[in-house]
């Protein structure tokens, strides 16, 4: 909302500079987005009269103007504008001027001819938008006068951000009321005395409202014998500073009054209305209208239209139709001032993709009471500026006034909520200045009653009154305190504690944390080569995604991480050791009928080299066991010891290098080397190791009791065992068998070497384990150990058919 300080001052006196005014408005709730100084940089721009025009000797499109700028002799200016004529009074930028558009004026030669300045357009002067040519001034203006003074241009525009609850502030008078509350000075409202004609409006037209829910009030006036033409300069300036384009006197007046009062108005060409009457109704499904912007709109039944006897002539509260537009030939108008149901205007404007100054106001909810003052003000101005006779009366169809809201305010309660000691009198004076009417108040009483003014639809409860008092009193005057402690017991969420811990551990393992979008491309599931019935393809779709790439909620984090790996590889970062903790979204049912499960999930991918580049380290690449080692460390640190890694068959992995992760008998995720075809799909040449687990099942382990075990006091004995086994026998099986058959004397079993190749038969491999034997109460003898060790060897031979190497 652009507010001209000069315009504002016509309704209220104040001593604040524009900058101070802006500060005060900010601190009372109207944010200032921008402060625009009009007339800035125009010191060296003067009024000039073009005395003579000659052709430029070297350029067809340029002319030489001899311009009187108040000096004894005229100056010569080279100009290219098509609309200059001899006798034209123009704006002349003299050498030294620095125009708002950034142009600096110097004496210069243009195509070999001396030019002592520039004739300016409005745009170049920063006072308007048109650029059809240079600005032509009134012939009464005196050459040599400073342009800013001559046009009384000096002004400051405050571009205010008005919050959606305050449509009353989308007007100069509304802001004047705010300034009044700030300064205590009264608002001078325009005096409207309207001289009406003898002819009664009922003889000229009728208004029929068929849906008074969507149109609570519709008022019309008819004005005959008007003369449509350009607006006077002052009106054009007002319209321009408000950010609109002057069109003609009628349209400019409706816009002016909208800016002044906040009530949108519309003027129809009376003679273009079929049967000269208005019907306010819902549109018929598929009904069409050509709106003022020249676009044909197809309407639907939930939209309100203003129609004549036959067809829609405006989309209610949004935009008028082109067919009934006021133009140079118009001699009689029907002026509309109406109130429309906010939600419906908002819906209609959205559906049509057409937001206008009018719809922006209506959709926030305007009071019906504003309709009459605004239509009278407009009629008064039209009569004054465009001439004409205003028919007697207003055709006013109103569902009925709602009585003003009355609220009881407890001043103690206000102070209790704010933490202040504002006297009751102070509160009452703030509210009075905002237009509230105080009644039923006694000196001795803490409470008083207020009537809420009609233009404050946003105030309906005591809390709203508290806000009014607080913002005008000044948030900055309220003392900053801390809540008195109420002794709330704070129990940290174990889910969050777990997530934090997992992050800390993985960072310690050298992984970087990533955060990627929760929505992914559905094609990602194809890239993963998932079959049609794979559970991961049961994803939730976004109804209105921004792009296909961000259109479905992910059921796995792997594609997101692969994209990160690919993006980094593409940018030359090859070694990528990353993880993410995020939700996967698992629907119970599709389409959704209840909230889906948001499964906290951890994913890790490793690719590239094992460790950071060093001058002596090997250039080994990561493999499955690198990632498995990280998983083992993670589980160890989280006290998770009851888990198994079981070979699996997931299509996303290398068929021979993958496993399920089973914790306490429950499958919580997978680990493996990504399938080369998938990596190819992501444009990756290097192998990628990946893991994904659900975190929730790990939470229980967080509270696991840790009991200290005494340090061993007797020596351990270390014995190795080497076997040659079928490749199909899993290491875990062998290890378990050793532990089981070794019994309580075994402290630890550890695989320290594997080998297959020369000297080992095809299909077999050698595995070497070291076993640590220890008794907690005494030193073991060789004989004791031999018995156990022999037993282990014979069990392995018998149960697994392996060969024990001696």
């Amino acid at each position: 909302m652009r507010i001209s300080v000069k315009w504002l001052k016509e309704y209220i006196k104040f001593d604040l500079s524009p900058k101070e005014l802006g500060e005060r408005l900010i601190m009372t709730g109207s944010e200032v987005d921008e402060v625009i100084e009009i007339g800035e940089g125009l010191d060296n721009v003067v009024v000039g009269r073009v005395e003579e025009i000659k052709a430029h000797p070297n350029a067809d499109k340029l002319i030489l103007c001899s311009v009187n700028v108040g000096d004894e002799s005229p100056i010569q200016i080279v100009c290219g504008a098509p609309n200059v004529y001899e006798g034209a009074v123009v704006a002349v930028a003299l050498p030294g001027a620095k125009l708002p558009g950034g142009i600096s004026i110097k004496k210069a030669k243009v195509r070999g001819v001396e030019s002592a300045g520039m004739l300016c357009s409005m745009k170049e002067l920063g006072i308007g938008e048109e650029h059809g040519g240079i600005m032509i001034l009134s012939e009464q203006m005196r050459p040599g006068d400073n342009l800013v003074e001559a046009l009384n241009l000096r002004d400051t525009i405050l571009d205010l951000e008005i919050t959606p609850n305050r449509p009353d502030c989308l007007s100069v008078l509304g802001i004047a009321r705010e300034v009044s509350a700030i300064t205590g000075n009264p608002v001078q409202f325009p005096t409207v005395i309207l001289k009406e004609d003898q002819k009664r409006i009922e003889e000229l037209t009728s208004v029929e409202v068929l849906d008074d829910y969507l149109a609570p009030r519709y008022a019309a006036r008819v004005i005959k014998d008007i003369k449509v033409g350009p607006s006077p300069a002052w009106l054009q300036e007002r319209v321009r500073v408000a950010g609109m384009r002057p069109i003609n006197n009628i349209v400019d007046i409706t816009n002016f009054v909208m800016m002044e009062y906040g009530q949108p108005l519309h003027a129809f060409d009376y003679n273009k209305l079929s049967e000269n009457r208005i019907v306010v109704r819902r549109a018929n499904e598929g009904e069409k209208i050509l709106t003022l912007d020249g676009t044909e709109r197809t309407l639907s039944n939930d939209m309100l239209v203003i129609a004549d006897a036959e067809k829609p002539v405006a989309v209610g509260g949004v935009m008028g139709g082109a067919d009934s537009e006021v133009d140079a030939s118009t001699s009689c108008i029907l002026l509309e001032s109406a109130n429309f149901y906010a939600a419906s205007v908002r819906r209609t404007a959205r559906k049509l993709g057409l937001r206008t100054e009018a719809s922006a106001r209506f959709e926030k909810g305007l009071p019906s009471e504003l309709v009459i003052p605004a239509i009278d003000r407009a009629a008064q101005l039209i009569r004054k500026i465009a001439g004409g006779k205003v028919a007697k009366g207003i055709y006013d169809v109103w569902r009925g006034a709602e009585s003003l809201k009355e609220l009881e305010v407890n001043s103690n309660r206000v102070n209790k909520v704010l933490g202040t000691n504002i006297p009751k009198d102070k509160m009452m004076s703030i509210l009075t200045r905002l237009g509230f009417e105080i009644y039923d108040q006694a000196e001795c009483n803490q409470t008083f009653k207020v009537k809420v003014p009609y233009f404050r639809g946003d105030v309906s409860r005591e809390a709203d009154i508290i806000e009014e008092v607080a913002r005008i009193y000044g948030f900055d005057k309220i003392e900053a305190t801390l809540p008195r402690s109420e002794g709330v017991e704070v129990t940290p969420s174990m889910d969050l504690v777990l997530q934090d811990k997992v992050r800390t551990i993985l960072i310690g393992c050298g992984l970087d944390e990533t955060i990627t979008y929760s929505f992914i491309n559905p094609k990602a599931y194809d890239l993963l080569r998932l079959p049609a019935d794979d559970h991961r393809r049961r994803f939730i779709q976004i109804g209105n995604p921004l792009t296909e790439e961000q259109s479905v909620m992910r059921t796995t984090l792997i594609p997101s991480l692969l994209e990160v790996v690919a993006r980094n590889a593409h940018r030359g970062v090859e070694d990528c050791h990353i993880f993410e903790i995020g939700a996967t979204y698992i629907p119970e049912e599709l389409p959704l009928r209840e909230l889906p499960e948001e499964r906290r999930t951890l994913a890790i991918t490793l690719s590239g080299h094992r460790s950071e580049e060093s001058w002596d380290a090997g250039k080994e690449k990561v493999d499955f066991f690198e990632l498995k080692g990280i998983l083992e460390v993670l589980f160890e640190e989280l006290n998770v010891n009851d888990y198994e890694i079981v070979p699996s068959k997931d299509v996303i992995f290398h068929p021979m290098r993958q496993a399920s992760i089973i914790v306490q008998g429950k499958n919580i995720g997978f680990i493996g080397e990504m399938h080369p075809d998938i990596l190819e799909g992501y444009g990756l040449k290097d192998r990628v190791q990946a893991l994904e687990i659900e975190l929730k099942p790990l939470v229980d382990f967080m509270n696991r009791h840790i009991a200290y075990k005494g340090l061993p006091r007797y020596p351990a004995v270390l014995r190795d065992i080497a076997i040659i086994a079928d490749k199909s026998i899993l290491s875990r099986r062998i290890q378990e068998l050793i532990e089981k058959s070794g019994g309580s004397l075994i402290e630890k079993v550890h695989l320290f070497d594997t080998y297959s190749g020369a000297q080992i038969p095809e299909g077999k491999r050698s595995l070497a384990y070291s076993i640590i034997y220890r008794h907690k109460d005494r030193t073991l003898t060789d004989e004791e150990i031999n018995v156990v060790h022999e037993r282990i060897m014979s069990v392995l031979t018998e149960e697994l058919g392996v060969e024990v190497r001696k």
Partner: protein, 338 residues
């Protein structure tokens, strides 16, 4: 015999001074002082010496033995030191060569900011909670005093899944869920992901917010100011000015936006703060009575404040990041700077 002893002494001393390695020294010791060594051999011939001379020869022999042993010991230390010095020489390294690094990962910058914010509020007695990202329209809007067709819905372009389910546009629904499930007093913060259909240099369709809520019998607007002033200064420095400006949110009344004085220009005005000297970091306000009504809290008995902030915005301000998309590209050269 004296001459014999003297010549052994001289020979041995000569030998000692000429050996340079430890093994040769040991051989020399055995040769002269060992059980079958030259000195012992000479002393075996003591029989031939007159009884009067024996003690004299004996003491001379002992002196010589002591002297030689001492000389060997000295020589031994000398050789040892020399060998050490040589070893050190051969083991010289270039200490300016790079170390062999244990790699250590980095938390995501947004996690760092969330952690920092959590720390401040946990210190003030707040509990950290989470809520669902896929939400019901009811919790995201209606319960927060934003009925259908409310103009505030325009400010937040919403991703819808169905008419009832949406991606939450704010962390505020967590307020409702918490108040529904526990009675006052309440002090929580709720970090999490939120979603809006908007994408450019400063808007991401997914971003993070932190919501805060404090409910109790005597909580005032002054308490809101105090709490958020502490927070702002903890995050951005003690010398930052903090300003509370009236604003509008459907679920708080009165509502405020919180600005800090610009850290680049210190309030003088620059590009970062669009020449205002202030930078907005938070939205806040006293919980609207309508919200209390929805969760069956008695507005006449309790009060409270709520606040919300964008994590990316705070991270961008703190780290001087000018493109929000960097957070989600996860270029390791970006991530590893934090």
């Amino acid at each position: 015999m004296r001459e014999e002893l003297e010549s052994i002494r001289v020979q041995c001393l000569n030998g000692i001074s000429s050996v340079t390695i430890h093994d040769d020294l040991e051989k020399l010791r055995v040769k002269y002082l060992g059980k079958k060594g030259l000195l012992t051999k000479v002393l075996r011939g003591m029989g031939k010496v007159s009884p009067e001379e024996r003690p004299i020869i004996g003491s001379i022999a002992n002196e010589i033995r002591d002297e030689l042993e001492e000389a060997i010991k000295t020589r031994y230390s000398y050789i040892k030191e020399k060998e050490k010095a040589q070893r050190f020489e051969t083991e010289a390294i270039d200490v300016t060569m790079p170390g062999r690094r244990r790699s250590y990962g980095k938390k995501h910058p947004l996690t760092l900011i969330i952690d920092e914010i959590k720390e401040v509020f946990v210190g003030l007695g707040y509990e950290v909670v989470e809520g669902p990202e896929i939400e019901l329209d009811y919790y995201n809007f209606e319960a927060l005093n934003v009925p259908p067709d409310h103009p505030a819905r325009d400010l937040q372009d919403t991703f819808y899944i169905t008419d009832d389910f949406l991606l939450r546009t704010q962390t505020s629904p967590v307020q409702i869920r918490v108040m529904e499930s526990q009675s006052p007093p309440v002090k929580i913060i709720a970090p999490g992901k939120v979603y809006r259909c908007d994408s450019d240099v400063t808007h991401s369709p997914m971003f993070h917010q932190i919501e805060g809520l404090a409910i109790g019998e005597d909580i005032t607007f002054g308490d809101l100011k105090g709490t958020l002033t502490i927070f702002s200064q903890r995050l951005f420095g003690k010398d930052r000015g903090v300003r509370f400006r009236p604003h509008y949110f459907p679920f708080t009344e009165p509502s405020a936006e919180v600005d800090i004085s610009c850290m680049i220009c210190n309030g003088k005005g620059c590009r970062l703060c669009s020449n205002t000297g202030w930078i907005e970091i938070l939205g806040a306000g006293m919980v609207d009575p309508q919200v209390f009504k929805v969760v069956n809290y008695d507005y006449s008995k309790i009060g409270g404040f709520a606040f919300g902030m964008g994590v990316e915005r705070i991270a961008m301000l703190k780290y001087g990041i000018d493109d929000i998309r960097l957070f989600f590209e996860n270029d390791l050269r970006f991530l590893e700077q934090f």
